[in-house]
Amino acid sequence: MFKYILKKVGYLVVTLWIILTATFFMMYSMPGDATQSSMKVLPEAVAENLKAKWGLDKPVGEQYVIYLQNLAKGELGESYTTPGLTANTIIEERFPASLQLGLQAVVLGLVLGILLGILAALHRGRWIDFLTIFIAILGVSIPSFVFAALLQKYAAGGYFPIVGWAVSGSSIADQFKYTALPTLSAAIGGIATYSRFMRSSVLDVLNNDYILLAKSKGLSRFQIIRRHVMRNAITPIITIVAPQIAGVVTGSFVIERMFSIPGLGRYYVDSVNGRDYPMILATTVFFSFIFIFCMVVMDVLYAIVDPRVRKGIIEGKKER
């Protein structure tokens, strides 16, 4: 088990290294550097100092080493367009909002999706089943920005504000008021995917002999669902949560822009459009880290939760 985790972390490091190296050299090869855009407003001496500080006068190999050294110290870089602003500050300021939105969306998606999926499978062919299928199909067919726009047009304006974000430390009611619609828009894809997955997973489990045994043993319906159906049906969902997290991250780029949320996703998009290379590099590395980290955690979690997977790993069976 420990070896398995170590292997996964090894992949994390290699993947992250590839991303940051590729991004570094791509950003380096872009025409123009910080001093050129700042030079207009900066005196010669200041521009020279900036060049020396960022190592811009050195060859690319050395710059790369400097960058890696800084990264090892936890310094992600400094903005070109707003000198003095470090990526660390931006992440500290901006990430909490993104994290809150992302977590709320994942949790809402999981809770609603699993609930709908189970209900649909248990009442197959009834109205709740059709409702779930309907939601699942609409959820994967309507982009979240369209859904968000519809919510803004028709649900917001009264109690729910159209745009904005509650400052940290504001009351629960305020938090709810500001985060409800963005969370719902970001979660719709998740609700659709999870409910659909859960429905077929539960239907699969219901066909098993051990359910028949539980029934003939005389267990109550509730007991069967709780002890036998839920437990077996819910574990595979972990495998699809990881890719879904990617969806939440990308969704956040859009949702944060639409609802004017001061999150990191919006800053990323802004820095891309503003061609602020060090910030693009820093946020890319950060986002990739979060994403890969989630994938690793999910893989390990799956191995812990499902004894069959764990057994496969210990016996050294090849993963498919």
């Binding site: 199909i137 994967v140 982009p143 920005f145 991250v249 990308t250 780029f253 822009r257 891309v272």
Partner: protein
């Protein structure tokens, strides 16, 4: 009649041996086919044709594709023609879907945008199909060290968040259709490669492949005659689902202003413009969003139908 008397009649000789005729087995007749045998593909197609939802989706997709090809040729307004006097006008008989904030006809733009969106979906899916099948096929067929190395590479690529790749590549190569397609194709083939590899690994062990090997069939023939046809159904299903994935990604990126650039347009780019006007002129968002959603819906439902018809695991 008692039991005993019944037994008596049966054995007493009332029924003589010559009352029986030896029928035997006509070996030719028993081998005769009652109806033409149907292949796997014919069977799948028959199932698909029975699926009304899937056929409706297919019809809808054909309609949308035909409109994308022919509507701009027939429709009197060009997609970049501006009517400054009547910007933001709602739907009228003159302009079926209304005009946008620069006075451009939305109906005309929908089909031009559709060309771009569909092209990205189809080309992206085909490229990732080609790479995925080749990569997975080679990895699975040769196995051993080759497989190990190739799968390690995939494992690393899977970890890379594709949206970030797309954004970085579009920064590097400039925004536009080519860089968008390139970036989307770079990471999207990994899923299919894994699928094909798993399937090939399984098929490789099967008896008929062994028989072919024993008979001295060359590798390329085994791959093209046995392995690829048997993985085809999974590949087709996967590709049908990946087309809407590409369209979705394009829409997101264009919505963020990183995809298709004006004067060219796509459904995502149109929705992005529409969203800014939504408060007062909702038609500018609704029509592109509808076009996008209906297409996605049709592709997803068709994919479901194909899976029900062709997936070996679901067919029983």
């Amino acid at each position: 009649m008692t039991e005993q008397s019944a037994f008596k009649t049966l054995t007493s000789g009332d029924i003589s041996a010559d009352q029986f005729v030896r029928v035997g087995v006509n070996e030719q007749l028993s081998e005769q086919l009652q109806r033409p045998s149907i292949s796997y593909w014919q069977d799948g197609l028959r199932r698909l044709k029975k699926n009304r939802v899937a056929m409706l989706s297919l019809g809808l997709l054909v309609f949308i594709i035909l409109m994308c090809i022919f509507a701009p040729l027939i429709y009197p307004h060009s997609f970049d023609e501006q009517n400054i006097a009547i910007t933001n006008q709602g739907p009228t008989w003159q302009h079926i879907f209304g005009l946008d904030d620069l006075g451009r006809d939305i109906f005309a733009r929908i089909w031009i945008g559709g060309r771009v969106s569909l092209a990205i979906g189809v080309v992206g899916a085909l490229v990732s199909l080609l790479i995925g099948v080749l990569y997975g096929g080679i990895s699975g067929y040769f196995g051993g060290l080759v497989d190990d190395i190739m799968m390690r590479i995939v494992e690393i690529l899977v970890g890379i968040p594709y949206m970030v790749v797309v954004i970085i590549v579009s920064v590097f190569l400039g925004k536009g259709m080519t860089s968008l397609l390139l970036a989307l194709c770079m990471t999207s083939w990994t899923g299919l490669a894994r699928l094909v590899r798993g399937q090939v690994l399984q098929l490789k062990e099967s008896e008929y492949v062994m028989a072919a090997k024993v008979l001295g069939t060359p590798s390329y023939k085994i791959i093209t005659r046995h392995l690829i046809p048997n993985t085809m159904s999974l590949i087709i299903i996967n590709t049908t689902f990946s087309i809407p994935g590409f369209i979705f990604s394009e829409a997101f990126l264009s919505f963020l202003g990183m995809g298709i650039q004006p004067p060219l347009t796509s459904w995502g780019a149109m929705a992005s413009l529409g969203q800014q006007q939504m408060a007062y002129y909702p038609h500018e968002l609704i029509f592109p969003a509808l076009a996008l959603s209906i297409t996605m819906l049709a592709f997803n439902l068709l994919g479901d139908g194909l899976r029900d018809a062709f997936d070996p695991k679901l067919r029983q």
